[in-house]
Symmetry: C2
Subunit: 195 residues, 2 copies
């Protein structure tokens, strides 16, 4: 095996969810079907590389001209902003089609371990968007981890003196979840948040 192929295997093996063995299988697959698979994949990746960028308005990563397709979509409510940790979470919410507002993608959560302070939340940019579009509600859709909840609390506190409603996603039993298998924390939250 030539060093070029070894380098490619190494690069692919570092992608999330892959290891050395699966990377080798993928590379073999690619080089055995150079014209049918490797070439179209290369063209597709090249296109993404040339066109993908971060939306200056919301922080979404996508291919667009000035602002991303969500921000430029006139059928979406500009006065409703959902705060998400990253683009993965944005995609997850978009897949459900339950949200018809716009997003604010954080650069990261508050994390003393990773040295991420409030500047990662880009709250000044969010505030100026709130004033510009007359935002009435901000939905904080962060993970139910320590860092997610700390950030949630910080954001709520930031908007305390404004007249913007700030809400968070509900915590409780996941749909299809069996009580028996739930951890105590979730069960406790579900109890105290009963309605």
């Amino acid at each position: 095996m030539s060093p070029d192929i070894e380098i490619l295997i190494q690069k692919i093996s570092r992608l999330p969810g892959l290891g050395n063995r699966s990377a080798r299988r993928i590379v073999i697959h690619l080089i055995q079907r150079k014209e049918q698979i490797l070439e179209p994949l290369l063209i597709s990746m090249q296109k993404i590389y040339n066109k993908v960028k971060t939306c200056p308005n919301c922080g979404n990563i996508d291919t667009f001209d000035e602002i991303c397709s969500i921000c430029s979509d006139n059928s979406r409510r500009k006065d409703l902003i959902c705060i998400v940790e990253n683009v993965t979470d944005l995609w997850a919410i978009e897949r459900t089609s339950c949200f018809n507002g716009t997003y604010h993608v954080l650069k990261g959560l508050l994390s003393s371990i990773n040295g991420q302070g409030p500047e990662f939340l880009l709250l000044d940019k969010l505030m100026s968007r709130c004033q510009l579009y007359g935002v009435t509600e901000v939905i904080v859709a962060l993970s139910a981890t320590v860092e997610g909840q700390t950030t949630d609390y910080y954001i709520k506190n930031f908007f305390k003196d404004s007249n913007i409603r700030v809400s968070s996603l509900a915590h409780g039993i996941p749909i299809g979840g069996e009580l028996d298998y739930l951890d105590d924390g979730t069960l406790l939250t579900a109890f105290s948040a009963r309605k």
Copy 2:
């Protein structure tokens, strides 16, 4: 998500071992780290695309000028040829460093279901290599499947009237394998091939 990104996710999800969800994770990873990960990966793939080809001598797929690095390596025995089904198997044997000859990579195994006849074995090319280099032994290293063993038998038959020794890999208990978990076929073979 733009159609370009969706197309890339689709293409990646069709690679071996990947699905929709893992492809999405990989694409997110790539576009969030465009400069650090997507760009080097693209360059590496482009290089492979431009340089990789099939060795006219043995059928190995690699990056080389005239013949592959194994065929052009003077420290390797040219009079010993190992027949493998594909490049994956060649790589597997190379990883063990137990073989110091050259290879003959088949285009496929004999398979009536897939309509693959003896022309997939490229035996004429192998025979002329045998005559050219004065090959003394051919090792048939094919999988212990029905198609592998049929091909093994066909190749042995092909060399019947020549003075070239044809051997196959041994079948038996895999190293580290527990008798209790072995299938009957392997156990039976291991018994009858005891030494």
